[in-house]
């Protein structure tokens, strides 16, 4: 009897989460050390739009989770001739598309935050505090773009996959996406404390 196994995609995402966590831990410790290394740390208020972005990202996690759960619970399509056998139902697809748009909206919102800071004269090299702000937000957005790419890929592949593979794939994508939310909340708290 074969032993039950976890699936490789999910393991891969967990290992990826460990890697990303470690790298952000390195950035955080670098920030703590740099902040204490000299008395040139400049405080500045976070632009309010960043809190709206946070809500958008959290909402995207919720929509993704709703879609994923609906897909996991839904019975297989009855008429494969009309609808591809394992493709997500239109409503589930809508939840996933909504997630995708929320994700893109978040990244655009972060670009707006950058514009606000730039208008106030705060650039990457202005001060270590602004440098870490740009680094944290840019790297988080870059990782989220990876999630957006994965979700787009998942939606494109969905009509050609088995239901188990679909559930596993969207499970792994959701895991990564939720981690992006958790990571952003952590970074926001760190930035609020440091800035």
């Amino acid at each position: 009897m074969p032993r039950p196994r976890t699936n490789a995609a999910s393991t891969g995402v967990w290992v990826g989460i460990a890697t990303i966590s470690m790298s952000f831990a390195a950035y955080t410790s670098a920030m703590v050390v740099r902040r204490g290394a000299a008395s040139d740390w400049q405080h500045f208020p976070l632009p309010p739009v960043i809190y709206i972005n946070t809500l958008i990202l959290l909402a995207s996690s919720a929509t993704l989770e709703i879609g994923r759960r609906r897909m996991a619970q839904s019975p297989p399509r009855s008429d494969p001739a009309v609808v591809p056998l394992h493709a997500p139902a239109p409503l589930e697809r809508l939840w996933f598309l909504l997630t995708l748009w929320f994700g893109i909206l978040f990244v655009v919102g972060q670009l707006l935050v950058w514009r606000v800071l730039a208008r106030e004269g705060l650039y990457l090299a202005t001060n270590p505090s602004s440098a870490f702000f740009y680094i944290f937000t840019a790297l988080h957005a870059l990782h989220l773009l990876g999630g957006i790419a994965a979700l787009s890929y998942g939606l494109r592949r969905s009509s050609r996959s088995t239901p188990q593979a679909m559930t596993r794939m969207f499970g792994a994508i959701a895991l990564y996406w939720h981690f992006m939310g958790v990571l952003w909340c952590y970074l926001l708290v760190v930035l609020m404390i440091a800035l």
Partner: protein
């Protein structure tokens, strides 16, 4: 009667693959897909090994140039002036160009040889077969990992062909010199930026690779392949990938911050008021110590990324030639895990002289001494394994014994360096050069050689020439002792390292020994031609290899040599025993294959 070990394709396997196990990608047909952008872990493993061979040749030539200059500082190497008219005008190496050669030698050897060959190269080829998988968990990521690493190598090598030449700040790229640009010397402009970009790209490649190794080991093991039944080499690659995952995910941020300091005007590593080359640097408030902490948090575990695969390879190979099980297999695995864990607690011992708080030095000294305990235990386990054995002295076995020898020799000098008070004297001397070349460089290389002679028949379907192999071993073994043992004496006598020439009266007396070392290095390098000749000759002319030429027990030896594209010909392997069943078989067979369904004799 069907083979009870391998289930035919018609068995339920392909109908119900293990959850998460990807169905094997179809065999490629085009040249590009077969040999260049292949998804096959075996091709990718060979690509990594080819890259390592190219890198080690480059690194070795650089070391020859340095050694020639150290022994005969006025000797002209005409061809060198063509490569760098400024760095070697008339073929004579300038002190700055010497530092460039040193930086590139260290970087190429540590990253592109000692990391790629034993871990990414052999790990890629062998690990999936040893756990009974058809491929890595994520074949596309695997391919990406190699090509990203290859691009990193090209970026690094490109710095030889720019006007200022390669970076001069050493493989450790200490800030602030590495962060301030051309004021810090030739090579510190574009050359240093290329260095930082190359290492950042390399980190990405290794992170993807480590992720793949971990997922493959955890999720793609075949039926019956419990963790306890995994071969020691697979265990070592698995632990190495965990170490690599943590280490490279810290080095990558460090490199990104360094690049930003260099090109974007930030001040992470450069303090305020710093004057270099009579110019006030436009940075303020940064911490050079921050770079050192981030770098060595990666740098010390990197030592274990280089050496732990060697531990696994030796522990996998020695029992096959001792015809005895490895002594204390569980203790060995516990030691591997302990070393992996402790490797993250000792990074400060590289920084005893860097201005770190002296109390911190004591703090880092204690785990440095503690980590020698599991390392010593593993050495004793190897010695216990061969004690009383009727050892088959193949080339692979000889290189395993050589590994133990140089690891012990280099390890003993580590005891000295772990003491802050002694390290204060020895740190800037050739003692350290001898120490880390033995324990990290040569030991790891001997692991690579052992692995090559052991697995070559599986990889290419032909045997290597054993006579050439033995000559290669003995001459290399004598050669490395001639090179690196005298360096310990030079260091104890106060011979500083990183100098391009020894011109003052005190160090003049040491030049004859340096000449001896240089001759040793040139000869030992020439001996490697035997290895290259053996590789090439055996690849096409060697005698055909049987499936299991060494009468070994693990899964790579049940499949044809070389294995088919899906490793086991579309059949699922079922594992019944651990890999350590030597001297325990039925009459006429002193070993039990992992796939043998028979109960172990005497149990």
């Amino acid at each position: 009667m069907s083979d009870p070990v391998l289930r035919p394709d018609s068995a339920p396997r392909h109908e119900q693959p293990a959850a998460g196990a990807p169905r094997h990608h179809p065999a490629p047909t085009s040249f590009l897909r077969t040999h260049v952008f292949s998804l096959d872990h075996k091709v990718i493993g060979k690509q990594y090994l080819d890259l390592a061979l190219l890198a080690v040749t480059t690194g070795m030539v650089l070391s020859w140039l340095m050694r020639i200059h150290l022994a005969w500082p006025t000797a002209a190497i005409p061809a060198l002036s063509k490569l760098s008219p400024a760095g070697a005008a008339g073929g004579i190496i300038t002190p700055e160009y010497y530092l460039s050669l040193m930086t590139m030698h260290g970087t190429i050897m540590v990253f592109f040889v000692l990391t790629t060959a034993p871990f990414a190269g052999f790990g890629n080829y062998i690990l999936p077969i040893q756990v009974g998988a058809e491929d890595m968990a994520f074949p596309r990521f695997n391919m990406m990992s190699f090509w990203v690493t290859f691009v990193a190598f090209l970026v690094l090598i490109a710095s030889f062909f720019i006007a200022d030449g390669p970076a001069i700040s050493g493989w450790t790229a200490y800030a602030p010199l590495s962060a301030v640009g051309s004021d810090a010397g030739p090579g510190e402009a574009l050359g240093q930026t290329l260095w930082a970009v190359s290492i950042a790209i390399f980190c990405v490649g290794q992170l993807i690779g480590s992720l793949n190794f971990i997922a493959t080991t955890l999720d793609l093991r075949t039926k019956g392949m419990t963790l306890a039944r995994m071969p020691f080499s697979t265990w070592a690659w698995f632990i190495t990938s965990v170490i690599g995952l943590i280490a490279f995910s810290v080095l990558l941020p460090a490199c990104i911050l360094l690049i930003l300091d260099r090109v974007a005007g930030t001040s992470f590593f450069v303090p305020g008021g710093l004057v270099i080359s009579d110019r006030l640097q436009p940075h303020s408030g940064g911490s050079p110590m921050l770079w050192q902490h981030l770098f060595w948090f990666f740098g010390h575990p990197e030592v274990y990324i280089a050496i732990l695969p060697g531990f696994g390879i030796v522990s996998h190979i020695l029992p096959a030639f001792a015809r005895k099980p490895l002594l204390g297999p569980r203790v060995f695995l516990a030691c591997l895990i302990a070393i992996g864990f402790l490797s993250y607690t000792v990074w400060g011992h590289h920084m005893f002289l860097s201005g770190m708080n002296p109390f911190s030095a004591t703090l880092f000294s204690v785990p440095t001494l503690i980590i020698t305990i599991p390392a010593t235990i593993t050495t004793l386990l190897w010695l216990g394994t061969i004690y009383g054995a009727r050892l088959r002295f193949t080339t692979a076995a000889l290189f395993c014994l050589g590994f133990v020898s140089v690891f012990v020799s280099g390890g003993i000098s580590g005891f000295f360096l772990a003491q802050p008070s002694i390290d204060t004297y020895l740190h800037g001397t050739y003692f350290v050069v001898g120490h880390f070349h033995f324990v990290m460089g040569v030991a790891s290389m001997f692991g690579i050689f052992a692995a090559t002679y052991f697995w070559f028949p599986k990889m290419y379907g032909r045997m290597m020439n054993e006579t050439l192999g033995r000559w290669h071993f003995w001459l290399t073994f004598i050669g490395v002792y001639c090179i690196f043992m005298p360096m310990h004496w030079l260091g104890l006598a106060g011979n500083v390292r990183r100098y391009s020439a020894f011109t003052d009266e005190y160090m003049q007396g040491m030049v004859p020994l340096h000449r001896f070392i240089t001759i040793g290095a040139l000869c030992t390098g020439a001996v490697q031609l035997l290895f290259f000749a053996n590789l090439l000759w055996s690849r096409w002319r060697g005698p055909k290899a049987p499936d299991n030429p060494w009468e070994a027990t693990s899964l790579e030896w049940i499949t044809p040599s070389p294995p088919p594209v899906d490793n086991f010909g579309g059949r699922q392997v079922v594992v019944h025993h651990g890999p350590n069943e030597y001297g325990n078989g039925s009459p006429g067979h002193d070993y039990v294959m992992q796939t043998s369904p028979d109960p172990l004799p005497g149990r």
